[in-house]
């Protein structure tokens, strides 16, 4: 896992919001297509609902993983923000801390997007 720490990229920062965006898209597109083509697809409503539940669990898992990596990048909270010194270490810790906050936000957002999955029962005809 050493290589992970050596790569300098912003992608760690974007991972969680990207997962949030993909999860949002998958949920809405899946139901839009399913409801528009109800007769054409041999899927039941609950199958789609369960599949999206699975997608949600995977999305939350990826976000938790991203949060854990961010926590590690931040040094497990050994040092307090604002990490504004012009050094490699502060830059790394700042990115780690920002990623951790974004991961938290994305986690909550994915949960909110999934709320209708719990309550929805049918396509609006």
């Amino acid at each position: 896992m050493k290589w992970l720490r050596e790569i300098e990229t912003f992608w760690t920062l974007f991972t969680a919001p990207t997962v949030w965006a993909l999860h949002f898209l998958i949920c809405y597109v899946a139901f839009a297509v399913f409801c528009a083509k109800q007769g054409a697809l041999a899927l039941s409503f609950d199958t789609v609902r369960l599949a999206l539940g699975g997608v949600t669990v995977v999305a939350l898992g990826v976000i938790v993983l991203s949060a854990w990596l961010a926590w590690r990048q931040w040094g497990f909270g050994t040092d307090d923000p604002p990490h504004d010194a012009p050094t490699d270490e502060d830059r790394r810790k700042f990115q780690g801390f920002a990623t951790l906050l974004l991961a938290g936000l994305s986690f909550v957002a994915v949960l909110y997007v999934s709320v209708p999955l719990l309550f929805i029962g049918a396509c609006q005809s």
Partner: protein, 294 residues
């Protein structure tokens, strides 16, 4: 929806009182230095956990309340009527559907709805974009050719309301409206049953004979007669409607005669041709017969 309002108002009031209370407390007390640990804990619990949980609960409650998303709950969709309304230049084709979603009967330019029951409208357009709007009952919804839009409304008070076309659709757009008669449920069921039963042939008069002789039946349908035209509005029980010519004229014999004689002078751009060449007596007889259809 009433409950949603109450819960949101009470919830909002509690949160407002808490926030203002904390503000007042902070303004009146002498600030004591807080430990870093205590301050972080306050931010995490008060600034993150509390709003996240409250919003999650409110969001869940609002989503749970929506009737269409949980039709499996008993009673959620009971007695829901479904009506297909098609906008045409410049009138409304209204098709009542039965429980199985099959056409039950057709009418035009006047909706009858039960009070306290949710009705779902399937909205279509035959020619250009129209918009279905009953301001007293709810928001409007466009009717787009080639698309089915859905709107659901629940009247809470019996009465007669007006619905205009809310999207410019041609020269007589401003003359395209319909009446909505919201009835007590028993009256509504009786009205519906009368429409669904095998139609009783109206009394034969010279007006009826003239209606067929002059070709009116090519475009208009009347249940219980051989008239099955589908180009113009269905005229079954036209005598009991609130208005004529899609909300343009009051339903009187004079209005009917004026409209038959020269529809375009009342509704510019209307598809119905003028029948001014008919003898006055014929038009009067046809009007009298149509006005008596109830």
């Amino acid at each position: 929806m009433h409950h949603l309002f109450i819960v949101m108002v009470i919830g909002g009031a509690i949160i407002w009182a808490l926030t203002i209370g904390v503000l007042a407390y902070a303004g009146r007390t002498r600030p004591k230095p807080m430990s870093v640990r205590g301050a972080s804990r306050l931010i995490v619990w008060g600034g993150v956990a509390f709003p996240v949980i409250v919003l999650f609960l409110l969001l869940s409650y609002a989503v749970w309340l929506m009737p269409q998303v949980r039709p499996w709950l008993p009673g959620a969709m009971d007695g829901t009527a479904e009506i297909e309304v098609t906008g045409e230049q410049f009138w409304w084709r209204i098709l009542y559907l039965d429980q199985a979603g099959k056409p039950a009967f057709e009418t035009a330019n006047e909706l009858h709805l039960p009070v306290g029951r949710r009705t779902t409208f399937r909205l279509k357009a035959a020619d250009v974009i129209h918009s279905f709007w009953i301001p007293a009952l709810g928001g409007k919804m466009d009717m787009i050719p080639g698309r089915d839009n859905t709107l659901s409304l629940e009247p809470t008070k019996a009465g007669i309301y007006r619905g205009p076309c809310a999207e410019f659709c041609g020269t007589s757009h401003a003359l395209m409206a319909f009446s909505v008669v919201v009835m007590e449920e028993a009256d509504y069921l009786a009205w519906r049953a009368a429409r669904t039963q095998a139609p009783v042939a109206p009394q034969k008069t010279s007006g009826q004979e003239l209606f067929f002789r002059h070709g009116c039946a090519a475009c208009h349908a009347i249940a219980g007669t051989p008239a099955i035209g589908r180009i113009g509005p269905d005229l079954t029980a036209v005598g009991e409607r609130q208005t004529l010519a899609a909300g343009t004229l009051s339903n009187t014999p004079d209005s009917m005669i004026r409209f038959i004689r020269d529809p375009a002078s009342i509704k510019p751009g209307v598809k119905m041709p003028a029948f001014g060449m008919l003898p006055d007596g014929d038009i009067e007889a046809i009007s009298a017969w149509l006005g008596g259809l109830k």
